[in-house]
Amino acid sequence: MTLLFNQKIRQQIADPQLQAALDANADRRIAARQNAANALPDWAERRQRAHAVRMHVIDHLDEVLSLFIAKVEQNGIQVHRAKDAAEAIRLALEISHQAYPGRSNLLIAKGKSMVSEEIGFNPALQSAGHRVVETDLGEFIIQLRNEKPAHIITPAVHLRRKQVGELFHEKLGIPFTDDIPTLTAAARSTLREVFLNADIGVSGVNFGVAQSGTLCVVTNEGNGRMCTSIPRVHIALMGMERLLPSLDDLALFLSLLPRSATGQNLSVYTQLIHQPENSQEKHLIILDNGRSSVRNSSLQEILYCIRCGSCLNVCPIFREIGGHGYIGANGAVAPYPGPIGSVISPGLLGSNFSQLAQACTLCGACKEACPVDIDLPKLLLRVRAGKIPDPPAEKHQPSKLEYGLKIYSSISSKPRMFKLASRFVGLASNILPGYLHLPTLTGWGLSKDLARPAARSFRVDYREEDSKSKDEDFPQQISRPKKRDAGPVAQNREENAGKNALIERFDLELITLGGSVHRIRSQELQSAILRFLNDREIQHVQSWNDLPLKFGDALRQNDIEVSSVHSASIRAGITGALVGIAETGSLVIPGGEGRPLSASLVPEIHLAIVDSTCLVSSLEEALRLPEIVKAPATVIVTGPSRTADIEMTLTIGVHGPKELHVFLVDG
């Protein structure tokens, strides 16, 4: 049964490019998460809270889901429910057909979505005649290679920059280079056209918030924002379990997800979508595809997963074989690899993927890394025991190993037999060498020898009279057990300190992210920004209609052309912000009438004017502001757009702005 799988594993191990790629970033992946987690003093407590929230949601899924759906519909987004992959595809095709009657060659710009992988979205829509373009850099690369993602967060983790260079040379016709910023720029210019001309945008959903009907979509490059906001039709795909009760809960999970996924305090773009913008049509397809059955099975806990990818990053097996090594009995690559995939793939898609759970030492690194504390080893054992929702009707023939284990278990359940067997082994040991060189086909013999059993087992030599032997000179100091270290005590500096502390923290965080902060007095704002634009020879900007301090008028008076819609030729966008978040250096930017969200997305430079009194300490505080749910969509911007999809090397400026300048205005 596992023959193909073993073969595949050998292949992956023997592939030097793959091994180099996996090894090169293994430590980086782990260290990034650890540093981010360590920076949050109450990490352990947050994990437990997150576990409890997810447990509550899954326990009460029907109620939470119907509350969520009602809210989303109230907000003007059309909700569709799909019981399986085929139905989800049919719905997507119907939506496309109704929006563009008579057209079967639509251009579809797609953001990253694991659900779309699960249901085979791309091949299905392509065979209907549409053109689907993956716009996340990693996904774009693997689409060009005609592959599946090798990781749920960093899909091209199995490739080296040289391979990407060759690929782009061949498929995009650019001269060969292995310079990552150049490669990123090439993808950007190819995709820019796709965004601006796409008929439909497709995205995933990281979290749905029941209380407010929020669709939260988290990305770094800006492609996700393009897909959700620029095309006239937006279709969001989401698994039915990806729900949270409230925006407070969302704040908690946003403190865990990006830290676990990429080691960032917050992803660059956190979109909170509530309503369609302008004349846009928005659809949400909520997918079951086996989730209800998993919920009623002993694998229920796997539905707590928030798809952060941490468990893949720490898994020693993933490090050896990468995502493409996880195949089913029929040879198909599992849509979800790694520890999470070894449970959810057989859970959702059946026993074809049960063998994945065998490729695991139960080391527990995954459980330790999981931000929602899912007991993955326990669930992996349940998969091994056949406790999946849809077990195969016929039992498989026991392997030689299983046969041996059955005999051993039978002996172990009878103490007399066990003792006898133990005697026999001891006797046999007398004629054996110190170590046995077992043949390779035993499995064990591939890489190690087997120690000879002891001639006299412990039980044979155990003597009651030993109990009298005492070592007199032994120091009998029995001390109290030391208490575990409590760890560094939480220091929430902002909470007690005043406005200056907030500004300093905001400044520090934003600079770390590669943004810049210009602190100025209100009288100086006009000249500062004009000088900025002048220095870069920018005469045309996209802007909010109601910039703070009536700044738009000042621009016009100085012969700067101001538009409210985006266009490829505008290099700078100027916006305000609802608030800035000190602990993450983020800007909360609401959309709506006269406040085009594209101004903070499409131009390569983003300038934001923020009153210095409008800083809050935490994300949680920001998400409590009533304006958040009133705006059709809000984006939380945390630094300039970035990617690390090629060799985990950070590159600034992908689809969103390369530069982010915040003008912090005093008085």
Binding site: C360, L362, K406, S409, P415, K419
Partner: protein
């Protein structure tokens, strides 16, 4: 004088009896009365981890029965076997309230050896002496599933004349995983290779572990690769003077 029951585990019983004897001596020196119920066998982990739960039940029932008539804490020189009793048994009997109760009674008084020394007896200095460099591999089960790391390190820190050096990637799995090492020999081999390279980098001639399984695996790999380093169970270091 507290009385404890030794659950020696099948691997120690069969391959490494010296570990068992060391534990008996250490505990007795501390004034603990050690008993060894002769009817004990294996904890059932091999078949449990292979998914053969039906076959595992009678093994678990035997262990539960054997220790029901043996009072006091049950001491196990292996974190994975302790986990099997503490987490595996309740899982195995989750649909059988009567056995579940009995399993939980046993689970509540089961301790891994270093856990018992440090957390229950409050001992970290056993007056041991071990000349030379040693390095410590944090076996996955005790470390991650039981949260034991501080305990073995505290015990080793008090061994006279021993220089405890850090093993690079000391928390990485060695690739044993019981049936895993047979079902997926290629993966197991890669992980073992990494572990042995790290042992060489540490420059210690002796690797200390708290699991007989990791010992069987790593020592077997060292022999195959003709390396001079040896692997010992922590009890043997703590018993040495």
């Amino acid at each position: 004088m507290p009385t404890v029951q030794l659950f020696v585990t099948c691997l120690v019983d069969t391959f490494y009896p010296e570990t068992g004897h060391a534990i008996v001596r250490i505990l007795r020196r501390l004034g603990v009365n050690v008993e060894f119920p002769q009817a004990q066998t294996c904890c059932g982990q091999p078949s449990f981890n292979a998914g053969l739960w039906k076959e595992t039940r009678p093994v678990a029932e035997n262990t539960i029965q054997v220790f029901e008539s043996a009072p006091g804490p049950v001491i196990v020189p292996s974190g994975s076997c302790a986990i099997m009793i503490k987490h595996g048994y309740p899982e195995l009997f989750s649909d059988d309230p009567e056995w579940l109760d009995r399993a939980q009674e046993l689970s509540a008084r089961t301790y891994e050896f270093t856990e018992y020394l440090v957390d229950v007896l409050g001992v970290t200095d056993l007056g041991a002496r071990w000349p030379g460099k040693i390095t410590y591999h944090a076996s996955c089960h005790p470390t991650r599933h039981l949260g034991l790391n501080r305990q073995p390190l505290a015990l080793l820190a008090n061994v006279q004349d021993a220089e405890l050096v850090t093993l690079p990637e000391y928390e990485e799995c060695c690739g044993f995983g019981g049936v895993f090492s047979i079902k997926h020999p290629e993966l197991s081999a890669e992980m073992l290779k990494r572990k042995i390279t790290n042992i060489e980098i540490s420059q210690a001639p002796t690797l200390v572990v708290t699991e007989a399984g990791c010992r069987l695996h790593i020592a077997g790999g060292l022999i195959r690769q003709k390396k001079p380093q040896r692997v010992v169970h922590i009890a043997e270091v703590l018993d040495h003077r």
